[in-house]
């Protein structure tokens, strides 16, 4: 009964606490970004790369974490964005960085639409196989169309203009890094809105029980396709960031390996939470940088052990497990 009487008064602060939690999240990202800038001034290229991959993992979280679609072909969306931005610069003469990012987002969204239309035709193992086929198809197509994409040599000669006409992309990658962090923050804020919106709730419902959603008059397929397009735009922004910052686009951005790695990062951090996606990316990329300097096969073995350990001991990922622990401690308090 006490619960009932407290409810009306509890509702208002609960809502504002949600937004203050978002502010804390944004602040934490900013603190990490500034720390990275100050601590690793010679390694900003790696940090920018992590930012671009974080966008890919966020995008994967939208379809895998929030909609329950298992895919091993998500790099197709990232690579499409990268190539769209790169080709716009090299062949279309569009070298203004913000426009390049917009083109990347559009390219990613188009790839998302195509992927979604194909992948969502099946479930389970066939769905996984379709996603794998898609990434290979994109890869082979980019390889074949070498006059446009540079083929296996990669697409080079991307020379973005100074950002806003003021900040040139310097040798140390400072501009690119700041640009990347701004893009990441903007996307993060938009996605927090999205996952909380009625549409986000509908997606979570589909993940749990599509039959129930149909029995409520909801269209499962149309909703998932829309989410795939949004996810494509997010991944495409990541790809465009990668094209702008490294000034080359390689076939590895359309690879099965990148797709599988992004899934590993997402699960490591925890699916179904934007924070999990960010934490997973950071942890994985940092770990990779640490270990891969040694023998690449030791790196593979360690990633393998890490994956097995996550599945066995932290199935909800780093963020999921940590927040469950925190919640238990919180409850334990009087």
């Amino acid at each position: 009964m006490a619960l009932l009487t407290n409810r009306e008064s509890a509702a208002a602060p609960r809502r504002s606490s949600r937004y203050s939690r978002d502010l804390i999240g944004i602040a934490v990202i900013l603190v990490f970004a500034v720390l990275g800038y100050l601590l690793f001034p010679n390694n900003l290229a790696l940090l920018t790369r992590i930012t671009a991959i974080a966008l890919l993992v966020l995008s994967l979280d939208l379809v895998t974490g929030y909609c329950g679609v298992a895919t091993l072909g998500h790099a197709a969306l990232f690579g499409a964005g990268a190539y769209a931005a790169g080709m716009a610069a090299v062949h279309g003469g569009i070298t203004e960085p913000v426009s390049m990012v917009v083109i990347g987002a559009l390219g990613g969204a188009a790839a998302g639409l195509i992927s979604g239309l194909v992948i969502l035709r099946a479930h389970g193992l066939p769905q996984l196989v379709l996603s794998i086929a898609i990434i290979h198809l994109f890869h082979e197509a980019a390889n074949k169309a070498s006059s446009w994409t540079g083929g296996s040599d990669g697409l080079s000669g991307i020379a973005p203009d100074p950002l806003l006409g003021l900040f040139a992309f310097d040798l140390w990658g400072r501009t690119a890094y700041v640009f990347g962090i701004v893009l990441l923050l903007a996307v993060f804020i938009v996605l927090r809105q999205l996952v909380r919106s009625p549409f986000g709730m509908l997606c979570r419902g589909i993940k749990e029980d599509p039959i129930r959603i149909r029995a409520m008059g909801g269209s499962v397929q149309a909703t998932l396709i829309r989410m795939y397009v949004i996810s494509g735009a997010v991944a495409g922004i990541g790809g465009a960031l990668s094209a702008v910052s490294t000034q080359v686009v390689g076939l590895d951005s359309l690879s099965f390996t990148l797709s599988a790695e992004s899934l590993v990062m997402l699960v490591l951090g925890g699916t179904g939470s934007l924070y999990g996606a960010l934490i997973g990316t950071l942890a994985f990329m940092w770990f990779e940088d640490l270990v891969s300097a040694a023998n690449p096969f030791h790196w593979l073995t360690m990633v393998g052990v890490l994956l097995i350990a996550v599945v066995l001991f932290a199935p909800r990922g780093l963020f999921g497990t940590a927040s469950a622990l925190a919640a238990r401690l919180w409850k334990g308090r009087p």
Partner: protein
């Protein structure tokens, strides 16, 4: 004409090798409902062991094949006990991650132990050269691969259709809970099928080494191909897998001969078309 004949022979041999390796995956997937991405890794272990036995120890080919098959099974048993057991019935994503993890570990460890180079398995004199068929001659090794594939298909057909183990296996594939209730020891059926599956993978890895070279990233490179075969054929179906292997082997080989610059583009296009038309596989049963 010469080209068509070469394509046909290569496609048949390639399809048969695919069949030998993937049929175990198909049966275990149909039986245990595990999306096992590590299957190719067991074929790779087989290839590495056979190469070590034949090239470094100088053992005979037949002996090397035997050591490879049983060695791989020995390695796989603890993996099944300790890791696979935990993911039976788990969500797909969990199974995918666990088995990718196992694949990465196997690649890393195998290359650490045997060295990261391309492994050759020296063929005995009888399998080198070519056989004259009267109007054409074909490489003996290709013929050997085809014969092995047919033998495996026949043996499996006999095992599944004509033995009491086969009856238990079919019952467990259809409805594991019901089979268990009828007194079938599903644990044992699972373990035996897993061992057979791994043994066949190793066998296929060795016999098919001429077509699918044993190299450091073997398990990753062909992981997808094997999964595709199972998915196209329909998990748990021997005729479906055979049909899928011949079909995909044909498309892939023809693509390589006729349009090498497109790589595997047409192969994956065909996969998408087939999966979209037959979402449950060529021999899939409606639920």
């Amino acid at each position: 004409m010469q080209t068509i004949f070469s394509i046909a022979v290569d496609a048949l041999a390639y399809g048969m090798v695919l069949f030998v390796i993937s049929i175990g995956l198909s049966v275990t997937m149909g039986l245990m409902r595990v999306v096992n991405l590590a299957h190719g890794a067991f074929a790779m272990i087989g290839g590495y062991i056979a190469s070590y036995a034949a090239r470094d120890l100088g053992l005979g080919y037949g002996f090397a094949v035997l050591i490879a098959v049983f060695g791989t099974i020995l390695i796989a048993i603890p993996v099944e006990r300790l890791l696979y057991r935990r993911i039976y019935g788990a969500p797909e994503l969990t199974q995918v991650l666990m088995t990718i993890g196992i694949t990465f570990c196997i690649i890393g460890i195998t290359n650490f132990v045997f060295g990261p180079t391309l492994k050759t398995i020296p063929l005995p004199a009888e399998l080198q050269g070519s056989v004259d068929l009267g109007f054409r001659s074909i490489a003996t090794q290709r013929l050997f691969a085809i014969v092995c594939g047919l033998a495996v298909a026949l043996a499996l057909w006999y095992l599944v259709e004509r033995t009491s183990f086969g009856i238990k296996l079919r019952a467990a594939v259809d409805d594991a809970a019901m089979a268990a209730a009828l007194g079938v020891k599903t644990e044992i059926v699972y373990a035996v099928s897993f061992a057979i599956a791994v043994g066949l993978a190793a066998f296929g890895g060795v016999v098919g080494a001429e077509l699918l070279p044993v190299e450091p990233y073997y398990a990753l490179r062909y992981m997808v191909t094997f999964l595709v075969v199972v998915s196209v054929g329909g998990a748990g179906s021997i005729p479906g897998a055979l049909l899928a292997c011949l079909l995909l082997g044909g498309i892939d080989t023809a693509g390589r001969y006729l349009m090498p610059e497109f790589g595997e583009f047409f192969f994956y296009l065909a996969v998408i078309a087939i999966v979209c038309i037959f979402p449950r596989g060529l021999a899939g049963r409606a639920k």
